[in-house]
Symmetry: C2
Subunit: 251 residues, 2 copies
C-alpha cells in the first residue's frame, strides 16, 4: 500500500466529491448514497470492490436499471400516445431503449467518462456505455425511489435527448418489432434460413420465421438480412390480423 | 337497446360495485378509478368499449403492467439476494414472471373469473389469464402509483403465492436462461438444427446456438429439445466465462 490510510481516505473523499459533482451536472440532483454511483460505473473488467467477500461490479445494478427504465418508458409512452395500440408502444420503446441508443446517449450525456474499466483486459466493451447508463438508473432508483427516477428520466433524458416525432416516423424494423413482441409475450422466435433459390449473383435466401416452433411466414431476398425483414414483416401482418379481430361478434 | 337508460346506469353501478368488491377481496384494497379495472379485464375478443372513437381492450394495460411487474420483481430479487449475480437474478425473475406462472397465478387468485372474453370468437385464449393479470398490475399502477403497487405485489402476491426457496432449487432451464439473458442484453439468439447424426432410433439432432448471428456452441441429443438444452448449457458456460474474468489483471 503506497498511501497512508489518512491519504487514502482523503483521496476517496475527493473522488466522492468529484462523482457527486458529475452526477449533479449530468442529471441535476445531488446523490445521497454515493457508494451506489461508484458501483454503477464499475465495469466487470475492474471489479476490485468486495461486498461480503464477493467481487462486485455494475451488472446487478444494470439488471435493476434496465427494468426501471423499461417501466418508466412504458408509462411515458402509455400516457403520451393514448390512442395507439400496444404494438406501437412496444416498437417505440424498443427504439428508445435499444442498446445502440443507450450507448450513444451515454456518450452524449458524458456518462461514459465516468466508467471505470480495465482497457487492457480482453472482453467486449462495446456495450459498456449503455450498461453503465442502465446501472446509473438502477443506482438512482435505489437512492431516490421510483417517482424521483421517473421524473429525472422524463425531464432530463427523454424530453431532452429524444425527438419523439422523429422516432415515430423512423423506418419500421419489423425484425426488431417481432423480437420485442416475442419478449413481451414470452414466446420464442426463430429466423431460420430454410432454402436458397437461384445461384451466383441471382441467389436469393429464403428465411422462415417460427414462433414457439410454429412456422408463421417466409421471406425471400438477395441478402439474409433482407429475407429476415421480409419474413418478419409478413409475420407481423399475420400476428396483427389475429390480434385485431376482423369480425367481432358483438359489432 | 333492450334496457332503458336508467336501468343501464343502474346495471353499470352494480357492476362497478361488484368489481370493486372483487378487487378488495383479491388484492386487499379499494380501487379508485374503477374504469381502469374494467378495462384490465376486457379481452380483445370482446373490445366493445370505445375511447375517442377507438376500440379498446386490455392490451395497452398489459404492456404497462408487464413492465411494472418486471421492475418490482427485479427490485425484490435485487434486495432479497444481495450476493447473487445478475445471471441468477435474471433466471429467478424468468421463473416468477413466466407466462405459465402468471396463468396459474391468475387462476389461483380468482382473477380469471373477472375476465370478459368472447369464447365464441376464434383466437388464442390460452394466455388470456396471464394477460389479464398483467393488465391488472397496469391498472393498479395508474390508479395508485408505483410504491403502492410494489407493496401489493410483494405482500399479496410474491410472499403469498411463491416459495422462493423452492424456486431457487427448481431445475435450471438453460434455454430460457439464455433467452432471458439475450432479452436483457438486447441480443438475438437463435437455435438452429444444423445436422442430424445417425438414423432410425439412434438418430441424434445437432443444434447450434447463435448470438447475433455468431455461433456460440453446439448441442447434440436424441430430441431437438434435448439438443437445444445442451447447446444452451454449453453456451451459458461460455458466456459466463466471458462475464467472470478468469484472470483479472488486478488480482
Amino acid at each position: 500500500m503506497r498511501f497512508s490510510p489518512f491519504k487514502r481516505i482523503r483521496a476517496e473523499i475527493s473522488s466522492d466529491k468529484h462523482l457527486k459533482q458529475a452526477i449533479k451536472s449530468i442529471l441535476g440532483y445531488k446523490p445521497g448514497n454515493i457508494f451506489l454511483y461508484h458501483l454503477a460505473f464499475l465495469h466487470k473488467s475492474v471489479a476490485q470492490m468486495t461486498l461480503s467477500g464477493i467481487k462486485v461490479n455494475n451488472e446487478r445494478l444494470e439488471f435493476l436499471g434496465d427494468a426501471i427504465l423499461d417501466a418508466v418508458t412504458a408509462d411515458y409512452l402509455f400516457k403520451t400516445f393514448p390512442t395507439k395500440d400496444e404494438g406501437f408502444l412496444t416498437e417505440m420503446r424498443s427504439k428508445i431503449v435499444s442498446r445502440a441508443t443507450l450507448n450513444k446517449l451515454s456518450q452524449k450525456m458524458g456518462i461514459d467518462q465516468l466508467i471505470q474499466l480495465d482497457t487492457a483486459s480482453s472482453g467486449a466493451f462495446r456495450s459498456s456505455k449503455g450498461d453503465a447508463f442502465e446501472a446509473l438508473i438502477g443506482a438512482m432508483y435505489l437512492d431516490k425511489g421510483y417517482d424521483f427516477t421517473r421524473k429525472i428520466i422524463l425531464e432530463r433524458i427523454i424530453k431532452h435527448y429524444f425527438n419523439i416525432d422523429e422516432l415515430v416516423n423512423q423506418e419500421v424494423n419489423f425484425k426488431s418489432r417481432i423480437i420485442e413482441w416475442s419478449q413481451r409475450e414470452k414466446k420464442q422466435v426463430q429466423f431460420n434460413i430454410c432454402d436458397e433459390v437461384g445461384s451466383g449473383y441471382r441467389k436469393q435466401y429464403v428465411v422462415e420465421l417460427t414462433v414457439d416452433g410454429e412456422a408463421i411466414a417466409r421471406g425471400q431476398d438477395y441478402s439474409i438480412k433482407g429475407a429476415e425483414q421480409n419474413a418478419a414483416e409478413k409475420s407481423w401482418q399475420k400476428i396483427n390480423g389475429e390480434i385485431i379481430d376482423p369480425d367481432p361478434k358483438n359489432g
